[in-house]
Symmetry: C2
Subunit: 219 residues, 2 copies
């Protein structure tokens, strides 16, 4: 008989806290004016400060939180220069992912991508947050299917930094049909099998997003 191993992974309280905080930030329950204090959180979650501290420090290291002058942590705020840098980092990762996907040019994988785009774009009346999440899922799918854990890790790292602003979704009133077309174009670029072309297409797409973002900030 061959039983499956039970202990999938030792789950610590700190991991639980980390996840809870991150989803709370994603869902907007923790906003820019909230201050996260170790003792308060410990009291609220009925556990000691130790795991809380661990989770907070991790989020700080990942650039999601920053220490407040008055003590405790707050959401990290980026200036315009940093936003640009973050978009460049996105381009590095997703561009390379596209390059590899084009090189593989696997019909099965491409079909999966098409399905994901169709599914995720199919939202009834999306809020900015809905759009951010759908967009994230689509872009993440591209990277997932490369099967490179480091690229995926860096992807998540970049997007988590943006989660509190819904940074990559400043498209408030752009219509989704436009967006759908864009994402299908990305897929089409991969399907040509031309590595360089795929990379350039992704880079351009992300660059466009950045410019949209800037105009959104200005207007």
């Amino acid at each position: 008989m061959a039983l499956k191993s039970i202990k999938s992974e030792r789950r610590r309280l700190a991991d639980e806290v980390y996840d809870q905080l991150l989803t709370a930030i994603t869902e907007g329950e923790i906003g820019p004016d909230d201050r996260l204090v170790q003792e308060r959180l410990a009291a609220e979650l009925q556990i000691s400060r130790t795991p809380i501290r661990e989770a907070l420090l991790r989020l700080e290291q990942e650039g999601v939180l920053a220490t407040s002058a008055r003590g405790g942590f707050v959401l990290y705020r980026m200036d315009e220069g940093e936003v640009k840098e973050l978009y460049q980092a996105r381009a590095a990762i997703e561009g390379q992912a596209a390059r590899i996907l084009a090189h593989m040019n696997d019909p099965q994988i491409n079909a999966m991508l098409r399905r994901t785009i169709e599914t995720e774009e199919n939202i009834a009346s999306p809020t900015v947050r809905d759009y951010f999440e759908a967009n994230r899922k689509i872009h993440r799918r591209f990277v997932e299917l490369v099967s490179n854990r480091y690229l995926l890790e860096m992807f998540d790292s970049v997007w988590n930094r943006a989660v509190s602003f819904q940074l990559f979704a400043a498209i408030e009133n752009a219509d989704l049909s436009q967006s759908l077309g864009d994402h299908m174009n990305l897929l089409a670029a991969i399907e040509t099998g031309d590595k360089s072309h795929a990379l350039e297409t992704f880079t351009a797409h992300i660059q466009e997003g950045f410019e949209l973002q800037l105009r959104g900030l200005a207007g």
Copy 2:
């Protein structure tokens, strides 16, 4: 009068421990057979387990250490598939860096790059470790000069994972003059100002490194 702010940054014991561990790994003082145990380290450094634990967990999260079945942490060992993925991640970051540098095509920056290459390649009788460090410094310089903190952070993250193996330096008997020429070629690619060409040149350089690496592992 305007005095400079003193508190550059609050330095915690955990940061100190983190740095010490990382250099110890870099310099080969901590090898693949060493087990790092919280209590032992605490006794050795004469501090409590708390900051030790913090540093160890951070190194684990960054992929430098892994938990041992017998308790404690050991150097993380990569399999061949992971090595390939790491090289792809490198290509993503350094390729994009090259792209941006080519786009800027700034004579001053290019001069700085040339100077770094000449300085670092000028080692008398390099060991593998010396070569690894020189190579790292050169490649890091390219990314530094892009002035993008996220790219630089990801660069460090990738290279730190490799530090315990001197992964990117499996060139034991390749001669340095060859290497010097290679790095100068990278610079030349940037100086053409052709973004796509610069990226492809870097990608190819890294790909070559990977193949050299594989042959090194096999032989």
